[in-house]
């Protein structure tokens, strides 16, 4: 814990900020003059008549699989591209650099449209495939940059030591560089995953059924837009909190006795 967090000044500032935020929320709701009705949303969770999952759960399932697949493919893409950026031949590096810059510096929304209307139609891909491909590449571009940065900033000392004792470059990479780099990589990587779960809402524009798409449908049916969007926000929040917690567990486990990493 940093020393200053105990100082009364910081407590005061925090309290003030909370007060301002709280007042804003309360005043906002008061001026809204709206009858809240969350009870009517229960059908979207579970349809009693047919005893089957409702719209919201369908959407949740969509968000889950789109996110998980994109995280997996994105991580593979990112690691590979990051390694090329770090140690590839000049030509490979330029290629990887172009890929990273294109995907990092254009809106995902546009990427999705291009992938769906241009690339997907040429290769007979479904909307789902186009969506996952876009998110994977987008996420991969960011991860590539994280990997390159981590490797570049890694202390070269232990690598020198491993080489000086006669390990090959490959052995050094596997037994020294990889474990140290992964420890550094974990926190930003989890941040990237959390971003991706939120960005997955964008695939609704190419009509993939996930949380955001379901939410629009629910609003269209019930006109309860405030309740629906609040509920959806809470679901995203819970998903990402779980994801961050898992990440933190892994981080603690990996760092073991390595607090400095």
């Amino acid at each position: 814990m940093p020393e200053q967090s105990k100082s009364p000044l910081w407590t005061l500032i925090t309290a003030l900020l909370l007060l301002v935020a709280g007042t804003a929320v309360v005043r906002g709701f008061q001026s809204l003059d709206y009858e809240w009705d969350f009870a009517s949303l229960k059908d979207y969770l579970w349809v009693a008549e047919s005893n089957s999952p409702g719209l919201l759960l369908h959407g949740l399932w969509g968000t889950l699989w789109v996110s998980i697949l994109s995280i997996v493919f994105g991580t593979v893409t990112g690691l590979a591209t990051g390694l090329v950026l770090y140690a590839g031949s000049p030509f490979a590096r330029t290629t990887a650099r172009s890929f990273v810059e294109i995907f990092r510096n254009t809106p995902v929304l546009v990427q999705l449209y291009v992938m769906y209307f241009v690339v997907a139609s040429a290769f007979h891909m479904t909307a789902e495939q186009a969506g996952v491909a876009t998110l994977s590449l987008f996420c991969g571009a960011y991860i590539a940059e994280l990997v390159r940065g981590t490797l570049n900033n890694l202390d070269k000392g232990p690598q020198d030591a491993a080489l000086s004792l006669g390990l090959t470059r490959y052995q050094t990479a596997i037994h020294i560089v990889a474990p140290l780099a992964l420890r550094r990589l974990m926190p930003p990587l989890v941040g990237q995953y959390v971003s991706l779960v939120k960005d997955s809402s964008l695939v609704s524009v190419i009509s993939i059924v996930e949380l955001t798409k379901s939410a629009s449908n629910m609003v269209a049916i019930s006109f309860k837009s405030f309740e629906v969007w609040f509920l959806v926000a809470v679901v995203y929040f819970v998903l990402n909190t779980i994801l961050s917690q898992i990440g933190r567990r892994i981080e603690v486990r990996m760092s073991g006795d390595l607090k400095t990493a």
Partner: protein, 248 residues
């Protein structure tokens, strides 16, 4: 008999846009097997760079480096020649994600095909030799500088090197921890190991080494038997360097 280490007209040049730096300028030297010698000189004089060319951590621009008559032919096979040497670093450079025991056991296990149990047993024995029997399970950050350096020495000995390279082994240590490391290096020197030590500890250099090499501005200025060189220096730069050390 071939020399353990032989450097012939070794130059290393760093080129940046604005300037060319001669990190090493035409260095020629020879270290016989079983000999302990010291590299001394002001910081930035090239002595550490010179040491690092001996195990190929630094590539050279011109000249040749030979280890028992063999020279480095390229990066891909560098690890083979490096296996005759081991190195101790100023900042220890232990593997931070492994405990003391694993630090020492890793390389013998990977490199010499020793199975995990044997490698660990050997590591335990070596850690006992450097006086760290009780600290086997500790991670580097839990050890003092002196203890970390002793783990590093055990790790170097674990690969059974023919030449031990020491790069300012006590420069990063608190004054009261220097002696425990020097003591250990002395005892290794007594076993007849070929050692090249970059050091600022002149008293230690006198005690332990037979020959001494003085570097300045990338050049090997003067060399000879340690007692003579340090007590009756010839070259004005060496005189100046030695008297600057006396002031402290």
């Amino acid at each position: 008999m071939t020399a353990a280490v032989e450097l012939l007209n070794v130059s290393k040049i760093f080129r940046s846009q604005s300037q060319t730096t001669h990190a090493l300028n035409d260095v020629t030297l020879k270290v016989e097997a079983g000999e302990v010698c010291c590299f001394v000189g002001p910081s930035g004089s090239g002595k550490s760079t010179c040491l690092r060319t001996i195990n190929g951590l630094e590539t050279i621009t011109r000249g040749s480096v030979k280890i028992f008559g063999e020279s480095y032919s390229g990066q891909s096979s560098a690890h083979l020649l490096r296996r005759k040497t081991a190195m101790i670093f100023q900042r220890f450079e232990l593997f931070p994600h492994l405990n003391a025991l694993e630090n020492v056991a890793l390389v013998p296990h990977l490199r010499c095909g020793l199975n995990r149990t044997d490698a660990t047993a050997k590591a335990r024995q070596l850690l006992a030799r450097v006086g760290l029997k009780e600290h086997c399970e500790k991670y580097p950050r839990m050890l003092s500088g002196g203890q970390q350096q002793r783990v590093a020495i055990a790790r170097a000995l674990a690969v059974e090197p023919q030449i031990l390279l020491c790069d300012e082994p006590t420069s990063a240590l608190d004054p009261e921890l220097v002696e425990e490391v020097l003591q250990l290096l002395r005892s290794i020197a007594e076993t007849g190991m070929t050692m090249i030590i970059v050091t600022h500890e002149m008293r230690f250099a006198k005690q332990v080494s037979k020959n001494c090499f003085f570097f300045d501005a990338g050049k090997l200025i003067e060399s000879g038997p340690t007692p003579t060189l340090l007590s009756q220096p010839d070259h004005p730069r060496l005189k100046e360097f030695l008297s600057s050390l006396d002031k402290h």
